[in-house]
Every structure is written in structure tokens, then in C-alpha cells.
Symmetry: D2
Subunit: 153 residues, 4 copies
């Protein structure tokens, strides 16, 4: 198995379920992020640079980079669980490689290891700056599948 | 040296410098966080629960927990660098231990290893819920000292 | 709950069980490590410096530091699970803070968050050098409880 | 820049330098690991399964998996530094995805972000078992370049 592996979802309706869950993450509205693409074992979130998201140097704060990377990797994992299930983040590590100062960020989540109880996922965050796309941060994450835990209505 | 060690700041004006830098982190306004305490090698940030900060279950999103933990640990480190210096986060790892669903969160940053170029820091995040304070998340971080890098005015 | 919390073991025979498991870790013989202390939620492993454990500068290799830290934190967690259970490491992060060049290393594992399925644990690694004890590395770990998985005889 | 990027080494003699450094890592002899391939920004280490490397279930201990992954990623980084320089591991995170129980392990290190002072690297560890190769663990690492720090003779 490699990161490039094709994954078979357990739930044919995975995209609608992932999109509905993303819509319940109020914080995505607050920061202005949108869920761009969902595929089995993959999800991409985009975030335009905004003044209100910055730290002291004018870059997007590392915690906000973490927010979109955590959700992109989390929804990559959620695309593979069964219809009655959700996922929770157990932990993640984020390496910040260059200042998050482009016009927009793009977090690409991928499942590395699917599994019934635990999944290992990754998200690479790219910045788009003056027409160029470059790697800005990378996140390595552990997810836990939660059964029958209702998301709020 | 232990986490409980007393640290001697290189800059007697460390608290004013840290508070000025925090004030430049626009994202703290956006999420409603405030810098509670600053001491040599320590900093504490508080964040009241707000609907706009939540993920799909109604808990504060892990990336927002990371935002206050990253800054609390970062300002713990910044309290120890010289007057012309700042810090940047190289990387961090966050373990989420229980849902961030209290009335407010409190991120307590501490320096584990001071150093001229690199510092290792930690932040423990507590939730306050119905009068009880319990450990909610912990972050382990690497900081790099940056010399003469101007923060924005 | 804090790292200093007192833990109540589910199995009164936890120390014998932990010591028997440690004795099955052949790698501990290979590197010359010994299990010093076991208490509910805590375990300590000692490792004398040896030429064969070193990397290119003559310090104990970071992976060997990880080996004793991973097991110290793992056995801290194992001390709290029920009689028929064991633990497996899901993941860990290690920060190396100063060269592992003392006469011996001491890895002190502690449970941060006990739990039936997952535990979060930490290990601080100290070096003893010319009569002084100083923090050398720290590890933050996630453990999974495994039921009825036989260790080898 | 992507993980697949081609890297230009600063030192044409990088392979000899990396191989000489590996030969000074005594721990590699102890565990029976060998440096298989070195290329700009890449290094691969192989480790046959051996009883003396195991933990309580008979799998290679996670710390030994970390040992080869840390060195594979570290030598990937060292292949890109200048002739008078070396690297030290600042920190790493390791996710263990399946038991290390094959006939041999293969750790493939890659540079994600080259840099003069700090590098971010990754190592994927595969197990070879009954003719199949599968992902067993992944490591995400930060390296620091050290100038003029002599390795031992």
C-alpha cells in the first residue's frame, strides 16, 4: 500500500456525508475555508489569505494552517468509514516549512493507512503565490473511528 | 533542568515585548483569545467557548486548540530571547485527550529547553467545565529564534 | 487530572505482568537496558552508555533513545490495563534536546491520559553525566490497548 | 517543490561522505542494518528481521524501526549539505501502521524541504513479507545542519 493507492469506500454516499459534516464545522465559516474536492481517501480544503487569520509577521497563523490540514486529513479518512460512523482526531504533528503568505492555501489530505479503528493520514499544505504553488507545511495524523456518535443536527 | 526550572530572561522588558507581539496576532481577535499571564519561560492564553469555533460535534476544533497552544508555547519561548529577536514555530505535535467542550480553554505554555537557536516547549490545554479544570490536550513544540525579523508595525 | 495524578491499577498484579513483558523484549538485552521501577502509571528504564549504541558523533543514537523512551512510556500505560490486556504503540514524537553522551540514560514514563482504548503517555529521558542529571529528550506517545493478544511464551 | 523533486547536492562527493558517516554509526552494526542506496535527497537502509531486535510480541521494536527511519531520513538530508557540514536530528514523529514482522524492513528517506539551517525530511518504512512489500511505518523529521562538527575518526 502506498499513498497513491486507490481506496474503495464502504459507503457509496461518502461525498454527501463528508460535505454535510464539513458544513457543520462552524469554524470553517469563521476562517473562510471551503471544501474543494472529496474522493475515496482524499479531501482538499482551500483557504484564501485574510488579514484576520495572521500572526505577528502577517503570515497565516500555524494553528489556522493546522485547522485546514487537520480537517482535510480527517475528511480523507471519513470518506472511507461506514455510513453510521464518524472520525475524531487523536493527534497530529505539523511541520511548517515556509511562511504561509501566499494568496491562498490548499490542504490536500490523503489516507496512508485505512483501518476500522484507527487510520493514519497525511495532509500537505501548499501556498499559491504569484502563480506558483509550493509546499508550505505537512501534517501527519492519527484518526479514530467513532460509531453512532451523532453530529449535531 | 526540569519543566519547573526558573528561567532568567535575557531582556528585562520581555513581558511588554510579548504582549505587543500577541496584540499583532490578528487571529487572536478573530477567535476571542486573550493573553492572560506572561512570566520567564511561561505564558498562558485563555479562550472562551464560542459556537463559531466548533467542529461537527460542537467541540472547539482541534486546529483552534492548536492555535492557542502553539501561541502559548511560542510566547513562553519568546519571553527568553534577546530584545532584537523573535521566534517562529518549526513544528508541533498535538494530542487531543478529551473533547474541548468546556466553558473556556486555558493553554499553559512552558519552556522545556531554552537555547539560542532552537527551543523545545510544551503547552498543556485545560478545559474549565462546571467548575472543574481538566487536561484536554497537550502540545510539544520546536521554536527557532529569528534575529532582527521585524514584526509588522 | 495532571501528570502527577495518582492512578489506580485495574490489575493488582500489574508489576509482575509488566516485568514479565519487559523480559520478553529481546531488544532490551541487546542494548543493555533494564527496567528499574514500575508503579501505577509510571515506569523507568535505565541504559548505560555503550560504544555499540552510538551514532557518528559518539552519542547514543536517537533511535535507541526512542527505544527506551517508547518502552518506558508503554509500560507506564501497561501498568493501568486489565489482566488480559496489553498495549501497542500507535505513534510517538521524540524531541532530542542535548547529546545523549552521559554515563547512563534514564527514561521516566508517565501516563497523561488513561483510557480503555487509547492512552496518552510521556517519557522524559535524563542523562547522568559527571554526577549531574539533566533532561536530554522527551517523548509524547499514543498507546492502544489490545485485548487477549498473547505475548510469546 | 514536491517530495518527488530532483535535488542538486552542494557537494559532489556526497555519497562517499554519507557512507563514511553511516560506517561510524556503531549501532547499525549492532542491529545488522546496511545502507543500501544514496542519491541526492534520498537514502535507503535495510534491516533483516532478527530475534534480538524484537519486543514482546516478536515484532521488531518500534524504537529499532525508528533507528533505521531516523538514519534514512537523516542521510537523505546529509546528502544535500556542504562538504564541511553534518546533520543532527532535532525531532521526529513515527507512526507505526502494521506489525514489523516481515523478513526484512526497508526505510526510504526523502527530503521534503531542503534548507541551510533546518531541513524537513520523511522516511517510509516498508516490510517485505512472503514476497510482498507493504507500508509499515512513517517518520516525519526535522534536521539541523551543524557546521564543522567533527565526526569521530
Amino acid at each position: 500500500m502506498t499513498p497513491e493507492a486507490a481506496f474503495t469506500p464502504r459507503d457509496a454516499g461518502f461525498e454527501a456525508r463528508v460535505r454535510a459534516s464539513f458544513a457543520r464545522q462552524r469554524v470553517m465559516d469563521l476562517i473562510g475555508a471551503r471544501l474543494a474536492t472529496v474522493a475515496p481517501g482524499h479531501a482538499t480544503i482551500e483557504l484564501p489569505w485574510r488579514e484576520e487569520l495572521t500572526q505577528q509577521h502577517g503570515f497565516v497563523h500555524g494553528g489556522i494552517v493546522a485547522t485546514i490540514a487537520d480537517s482535510a486529513a480527517g475528511y480523507a479518512g471519513m470518506s472511507l468509514v461506514g455510513p453510521g460512523s464518524g472520525v475524531l482526531t487523536v493527534e497530529f504533528k505539523l511541520n511548517l516549512m515556509s511562511p504561509a503568505d501566499g494568496e491562498r492555501l490548499e490542504a490536500c489530505g490523503t489516507v496512508l493507512r485505512p483501518g476500522r479503528t484507527l487510520q493514519v493520514t497525511r495532509a500537505d499544505v501548499y501556498k499559491h503565490r504569484e502563480g506558483e504553488r509550493s509546499l508550505c507545511a505537512t501534517l501527519l495524523q492519527t484518526l479514530m473511528t467513532v460509531e453512532g456518535r451523532g453530529e449535531r443536527g
